[in-house]
Symmetry: D4
């Protein structure tokens, strides 16, 4: 009856960044803006660091939803970029699904705005089609905690696993010895408390 | 073991508004009154927008529970209206169940006051009879968050799916291209932040 | 896969009040004291109103845990009263289980202090033995919300259903017409907002 | 040493609505959007109901701050409207101060976005020039509660009085007998709980 | 510059209970209903215990605001009862002020609903006329904490002292030796934790 | 108009610990028990560390209020200990005031349970008699935050200065160079985060 | 469908303390530091009291993560201590798994920092290998409540049971009569409210 | 009696950054780390943008408190940097006061860690010596909100004005026309919502 432990595998995972658009971001109120911005960029940096194929998509970006935030465009200049003409569930867009299939990966790491729609809909669809779905909770935002909680319940009941960007990075990395510098830099850039630990450590040990 | 993804289908869904009565509303304290009023009316507007058959019911409306809020009566003048003489679980009222069966729909969207009774009881009964049940979390209210959380656990364990009015509207609409104006108006009327995005967009693009 | 809807049945339910002792109550901090006292007494009044066999038990009441609160003793002068000599899980006490079996009921309504021990342990044991267990969330208290949340997860995973005293009363009563006065009095005595509705209603309609 | 009680006087008060602009509103996170929108419109309706001279002003409305929300423009089509070319403190704009002086009033009711800048700066300036300043706390918004609390402390230390729109309306009206219908309508339109009281009252008393 | 310490004096204090009406109570959301009801009755019991002259008043009680809660009427059957025909600030009603002057007391203990209007207005007026004003914070309620905080700032700036019913009772009693039984009973009836201390103490010491 | 900066002076300060009794502590709910216990002991340790004359007092310790917590007795075996026979305001007890005067200090550091009574009353009395009063906010506890906030407002309006035990220790110490070991030990014993900093520092620098 | 009730058994349980390191502890913000420190030490004391084999492990302790907190080292001087050279999931370290297998126990009690990584990863791995896993929620900490909630959902879906240190101690002890003194001391040392009950009880009953 | 409005003046203000050290930052828990880091850097950027003389100081930086965060060192390479050998109140350090006097400014903008010590002590000292003090609330942090609130009360009673970095920047800039680009960049870099407004604006208006 227990759900088996499926670990994120850096050789078998792709990242989907869904609708992090300048207009839609004003709807996000379950996480503070400074923190949410940091989380999204941390996930993006992790995707790059682990060389995970990454797919960007937007909903109606020529209207009030606004353009994709420029930082994400800049970080993934060559990534598939699907500006959906109208489909709310990104999975209803053929190009999006094609791009995913083209990666050949079976594990999908999903984050987006807003959680109960732009994240939950494709997550549920992907599970239906046999993918292992990992939702990055803290790089996904929505109107309020009550809405988020309901969306989490719906996705976990369907089989999605919930992780933060930090948890995902740790599960992808597995062992510090693969690259201490690289993972340390990722943490230092996105976890102020960890950066402080490193600063203090460096200072104390170089005396 | 995973719960399959059952999507809301505008051709197969009916809406049940249970006991949104002027007296009972004073019991609702897990959502702020301004927000709750907006959510209930947003769900009602969505039901009309998608032409979903809608059924109204009240509990003991001639007593302290008070009358149905007039806005809902006004929005659905021709809807079945079952003033239950005493049954607490609306599903125990034959007329209510008959009205549901008459719609011929298999998906039921339920909201009401209070969540753990007026929503949960018919939701659990409907699932028993084979309906697919979607609870609109933010158009349902109760005494406090602790009570709500317990009710959510009971309903999800039984198989209900939890959604907000916004999530439901998105799942029903599927594609902006069906009707941009209509969905935009629904959002503009009930999501102040989205209205602001539209106002700014219109101003900026018409310069 | 869904948990079937098992309704509380006034002809088949017993109530277990576990360790509501004067000393232990000082440990309860996930609900405000005024509210918690009201909830416990409301559940007790409901048990009496529905004539449900009720069993009282205490843990080590001659030590620091202190005596059962006198109000509960006074409300159930003839109820089985098991002062456990040491067993922490009341179900480990033979007299307690015997008293339950003597009721001949298959549904157990449980509340107590503290939630993760005095409620959860017998609840889990009762489920093992085939009882249908209903935990009264708001008449059970513990150290903090984090502890409570974990206890709820453990009990629901095991099959318990979570209800408040109000939800339980509604599910037991089924139909206002059985006795409007009686249920109204129960609500009036324990839900200030409902009492106000009744006061206003009576005043307005008798003009 | 005590601050004397200066009451709002409907014959001596003007209303300043400062920078309620579609863009800036996305910065407001110390009040929920549904509630904040309602509060701002309630204050505007109150200003009209009491025939208080009202002045609108915006900051840099042709840029990202965005246009004044259209509802306010619509409610006060003939009010002085000062689109400030750059001054952050509205009091630094001569036209704004002239418009205030032209009202001949000595009491200023101020609300705006964001509290610690667009409200606090002109409030502090107005007190310096001898006006009696009343800040409408719930029609003013800002980044978070911590920021708001500091702004309140600064303004009260300077002599401003803090009021909600409801408190201001009550202080302006003084006696229900002046106009029961009018004040009742204002409350019914902006306080859902009060509307429910009126609905229940009307239903019960007309039986 | 410091405000001098004015102590409540049982021989020089009167109690004003303002607008604790069945309808208006549904507006109170800054304190939980169970707790608020207890606080109001505790203050009333304290007023009786200390034989303080007490004055009841209501606003428009024949309309939606509803009748005074019956418990207060029952506790003070012979108290002056001023059903104001329309004045929002009770101090604007001559009969109310006359009733206060008739007590001959110079200290006024005020509580009511809602805080920023029904409490704050007469409190500010009373200070203007030279009374020493003590606001009972926890027997006064309003829409939300933000509103309450602003009302507290306004009243304290004007010179009011803020106290809970418990603090007031302690300051009035001064010394347990005056009457241990009486004060103990007051606490036992309205502070569940204190009642538990007394229950445990009595049990332990009579062994 | 500004309150002058009066600094705590280790040569001119005494500490008053008021009513930290085993029974009364169950009433404290504005601070978590683990944290509150730590704060009280930290203040006591600081008092010893700085050799400040310290006075203990209890209210009715032979009744339900219970005995002084043993840790405090053990830390100050020779301190004046005034078990008040009934006076609620400790300042009304002559022995208590005598003990204070006997210290010859003009600065009083006060903490106790509950804040609005056992702390506020003697604090206000002491100010009246010309003492400089420093309330240790985090070693004083009461029923809830609302009650505490009102007590703070009353005391600051009267001229008390609010400090935590940490702030007081820093103001008394003035300069780390007086005794690095001692102050470090005080912090290490009562601030887990600081202890961790010291642990990490020691480990890193001794490599 | 229900998860069976697996009780903790003192003869079949081992304790894993994962990465409670001086540096990493600065990342914990979902529990207050004073409380968290107490919880961790309480679990450690319980492990010793019940003579449970206990295993300590650290992640990269020579870097910024810092050393194991000295108290834990001191409490378990002879316990297996695995300073992992790099594996993030402790279960990926052979020595760690060997140490667990060497205990011969089938129940694993796990706590650590941070919850979603250092606790969740080995918990999920252990379940895969057939262990019964009990996560001690309040001796495990992480960045914030949102992260913790997601980690709890992942672990419970996989079959872990969530318990606090207090609940675990109660389930291990089963019956007070085994050793009243010992369990009482454990509670007295780590639950201030319980210590107060004991202090009051002892005082009252020895009079 | 009102405190006069003293405006920040870019020609007469200096900035003091006190003890933002890598170790001490782990003590800050009244603001989330991501947000706090952003606020501190925003204040630093503002200081540079307005060319305000800035002074850095640290407490015991060779010990566990740790080094100044490197970002601040990098931003102000030529600023006076006073590594205090032991004085807790920076104002007790002659070099620090000399550096302030050398700026010739009369307005001091202060931020630091922790609020009630490293900010409050020099703030209170500076007011005593006639400076106008502005505390940047959101670039100052401490153990918890309760501690912060008490520190704010102490500083405002002494005459300090509380401002956020954003409020300070607005008061220093006065008029957007001085430099739209520069102020816009400052906001874009430190207020994600404002950056989004600018992104959307630029996209929409360049179509």
């Amino acid at each position: 009856m227990n759900k088996p432990y499926v670990r994120l595998d850096r050789d078998n995972a792709a990242v989907l960044l869904v609708d992090h658009q300048a207009g839609l971001l004003s709807l996000v109120r379950d996480i503070e803006p400074d923190k949410f911005k940091n989380n999204v960029l941390a996930l993006a940096d992790a995707a790059r660091y682990f060389n995970l194929p990454t797919i960007l998509t937007t909903s109606f970006e020529t209207g009030p939803n606004g353009p994709l935030v420029p930082e994400l465009k800049a970080l993934f200049p060559d990534a598939p970029y699907i500006a959906r003409p109208g489909q709310i569930n990104a999975w209803d867009n053929e190009d999006f699904v094609k791009a995913i299939k083209a990666t050949g990966k079976k594990q999908l790491i999903i984050a987006g705005v807003v959680t109960e729609v732009c994240v939950a809909f494709p997550a549920l669809s992907a599970i239906e089609e046999g993918y292992e779905v990992f939702v990055i909770t803290d790089a996904s935002g929505t109107f309020n905690a009550m809405t988020r909680d309901a969306a989490w319940e719906r996705m976990t009941a369907a089989g999605a696993q919930l992780l933060t960007w930090f948890g995902a990075a740790c599960e992808l990395h597995r062992d510090w010895r693969r690259d201490i510098e690289g993972l340390g830099a990722l943490f230092s850039n996105h976890i102020p408390d960890y950066r402080n630990l490193m600063t203090a450590y460096d200072t104390h040990t170089t005396k």
